[in-house]
């Protein structure tokens, strides 16, 4: 091979528009770039001057795949700013809504976007011809995730029921119970999903990541907790900006994140699993052990298996919440806006997401900062590729490109998310 430049102009089966650029010189990796050309949409710029209560609806539009992650982060940040105390019943419903998004998003990625890589298909439609039962089960599982979002959020894409302080309307116990049998089915399907994912073939590839996720004392993380890392970070969301920073690089419309005192880091299913294994349910641990996953994962290709376990966790957590559900006295608590800054980190399916808002005394947003998971992972994706490429350098170009794209998809990258916040540079037509 010697010298070679490989360009994948449009990465398939990822959310948003990205390209891959690999340069090989004398059989060694000379350059790796995950290029993001998704047009910037400037959310942080136009949030300025909007009322605080619009943040959950507006930021949802950053991403149609994980709108709940934006809504949850926005409401928590605003409630943090105004010192609002949220009753446990509302908190539980928010976790239920997040369960729906995790089930839907993980199933979409696992079966429809990532499994075709492992099995050698262009897409799920071709995969369905050979594995019709697998795909039918996947679609039903995905639909149950969407059903939960519909019930709690009003609709699956850009839910309308989330507000700062709680919800506009809360479901009755009977309404939730209608989904119970389906979610029991989903739990069994998720066990099969984890087993299916574990049965795929994985390259022997391990990376010494600094894993970062939200950690809560009692729960596998969705909405609240401290930010922790496997190399010693232990901070509250208020301290995020002191420990993490973003860089602007020429080849990407998304900013690259890094830990100030060190370098790149990992967020997402593997990072959560490694930091929160002990918070998983007994059944999740049992299945993880049965499929040989271990308590820590450092092979990025196995993120698909962790997604399977997290889907199982989400089903069990949804059942637990419905079992113990008590309808809140009121769908939301009163919010008294004041001049303040609020911070929140929650766990999107793809990893930790950070929101910060400064609000003035009239309740209008003066400044917003949003750091989505994919921009945090961007540097790590490139570092994976740099280390992985030598192991596949002797394959044909087609096979090599296939493997490298697969390595990018380990991250379930959401490029639409990553590219929303650049400040405007004007070019007139």
């Amino acid at each position: 091979m010697k010298n070679k430049t490989i360009k994948v102009d449009y990465l398939a089966r990822v959310e948003g528009e990205g390209a891959l650029y690999l340069k090989i010189k004398n059989d060694e990796v000379a350059d790796v770039q995950l290029q993001i050309f998704e047009p910037p949409r400037f959310f942080e710029a136009f949030l300025r001057g909007r009322p605080y209560y619009e943040a959950p609806d507006i930021t949802a539009r950053i991403c149609g795949i994980c709108p709940v992650a934006y809504q949850m982060s926005a409401v928590h940040a605003m409630e943090n700013a105004f010192g609002a105390v949220i009753p446990n019943e509302i908190r539980e419903l928010r976790r239920l809504l997040y369960c729906g998004e995790w089930i839907e998003s993980h199933t979409l990625h696992l079966y429809m976007l990532h499994a075709p890589d492992f099995l050698g298909y262009d897409d799920v439609v071709h995969m369905a011809k050979d594995h019709p039962e697998v795909v039918k089960k996947a679609l039903r599982l995905k639909k149950i995730g969407n059903d939960i979002m519909n019930m709690v959020g009003g609709r699956e894409i850009h839910p309308i029921n989330v507000k700062v302080g709680g919800f506009y309307k809360v479901p009755t116990r009977n309404e939730l119970m209608k989904m119970y049998d389906d979610i029991c089915w989903a739990r069994d399907a998720a066990i099969d999903t984890a087993k299916f994912a574990a049965s795929l073939e994985f390259p022997e590839f391990f990376q010494d990541y600094e894993c970062v996720s939200v950690v809560h004392p009692d729960e596998y993380p969705f909405n609240e907790g401290r930010i922790m890392s496997t190399k010693g970070i232990d901070i509250s969301p208020e301290q995020y900006d002191f420990h993490f920073r973003e860089e602007h690089v020429e080849h990407s419309h998304a900013l690259h994140s890094r830990i100030r005192e060190r370098d790149n880091y990992l967020v997402g299913p593997i990072a959560r699993y490694n930091l929160n294994y002990d918070k998983l349910t007994p059944l999740c641990k049992e299945i993880a052990s049965e499929i040989g996953l271990g308590k820590e994962v450092y092979n990025p290709f196995k993120s698909i298996v962790v997604r399977g376990i997290e889907t199982l966790y989400s089903c069990e957590e949804a059942l637990r919440i419905i079992d113990s559900y008590r309808m809140p006295d009121s769908p939301s608590v009163e919010i008294e806006p004041s001049e303040a800054t609020g911070y929140a980190c929650t766990e999107a399916p793809r990893g930790m997401i950070y929101h910060r808002y400064r609000v003035n005394s009239e309740g209008l947003i003066e400044d917003a900062k949003i750091v989505p998971p994919t921009s945090q992972n961007q540097k790590t994706i490139e570092s994976d590729l740099r280390n992985f490429l030598p192991t596949v350098i002797n394959l044909t170009e087609k096979e090599m490109v296939w493997k490298c794209e697969q390595a990018v998809r380990n991250y379930d990258p959401c490029i639409s998310c990553a590219t929303h916040f650049l400040t405007l540079h004007i070019e007139r037509e």
Partner: protein, 258 residues
């Protein structure tokens, strides 16, 4: 002709991916729909990217960069029928909020390396640049309406998409009116149907995800809001969100600007 499946392509401009996800979210219908077409270009779902021409092109997202302009002109040439899906593609989307900003003010905002970015100063719908054969509204679109539109184009008939207001759906559902009962602003009387009056069913006023209906009377609604005690800023904001650059909403929001 009967042996050859129509070629379907799905394109993306500046958007959140939600509208194309609607197709994948139609879990019960997905395999049947995709069995009826040749999925020739749908990068979010498939590595197989066939060249045009295509029989039907779906495009989500608004035009915000010079690259988008080139792409949409090329896409128009390659698609027999071009269908714009969602508020971004039909009205410029939420990112059209930039259209009111003083562009010079923006350039003054210091950015680490603004020279890396190129963008237009307005976010515009697809129809501002090329002819569009059909526009399906919504932020996000309704997946059942998308299937209906595809079905109609595949069978060369007119899509059966009602163009009356959200208010009609709301009355048919027997909802309590949130304006009358709770004194909430609601765009239901002027917003295009499509969501089955979702927000009023959740005790919340409509905020116009589906954009203006045919001939909406926005000024009367705005004066009703004023009588209910809302100020100009509130009224401007409710018209200025996901469909802010759709003409009727744009004009009403501007009428309420200081």
């Amino acid at each position: 002709m009967v042996n050859k499946k129509p070629k379907l392509a799905v394109f993306k401009m500046s958007s959140c991916d939600g509208c194309q996800l609607s197709l994948l979210d139609a879990e019960d219908e997905l395999l049947d729909v995709l069995a009826g077409v040749d999925m020739a270009y749908f990068p979010e779902a498939s590595s197989r990217m066939m060249h045009g021409p295509y029989d039907i092109g779906l495009v989500e997202g608004s035009i915000t960069t010079p690259r988008n302009v080139e792409e949409i002109r090329q896409i128009r040439k390659e698609c027999k029928a071009l269908i714009a899906i969602g508020a971004c593609a039909t009205a410029g989307g939420i990112q059209a909020l930039r259209n009111w900003k003083d562009t010079r003010e923006f350039t003054k905002i210091v950015y680490a390396s603004p020279e890396y970015i190129s963008t237009l100063d307005r976010s515009m719908p697809i129809s501002a640049f090329v002819h569009v054969d059909y526009e399906l509204r919504g932020c996000p679109i309704n997946k059942y309406q998308l299937i209906e539109v595809l079905n109609a184009f595949l069978n060369r008939r007119k899509p059966n998409i009602p163009s009356y207001s959200v208010c009609i759906d709301c009355k048919l559902k027997g909802n309590v009116c949130v304006m009358v009962a709770h004194n909430q602003m609601c765009l239901g009387p002027v917003t295009h149907s499509g969501c089955n009056a979702l927000c009023p069913s959740y005790n919340r006023g409509c905020f116009g995800c589906y954009g203006p209906m045919d001939s909406p009377n926005t000024s009367t609604l705005a004066s009703q809001f004023r009588q209910m005690g809302y100020g100009k800023f509130d009224i401007m904001n409710i018209f200025r969100n996901y469909n802010c650059y759709a003409e009727a909403f744009r004009k009403e929001s501007e009428a309420n600007e200081k």
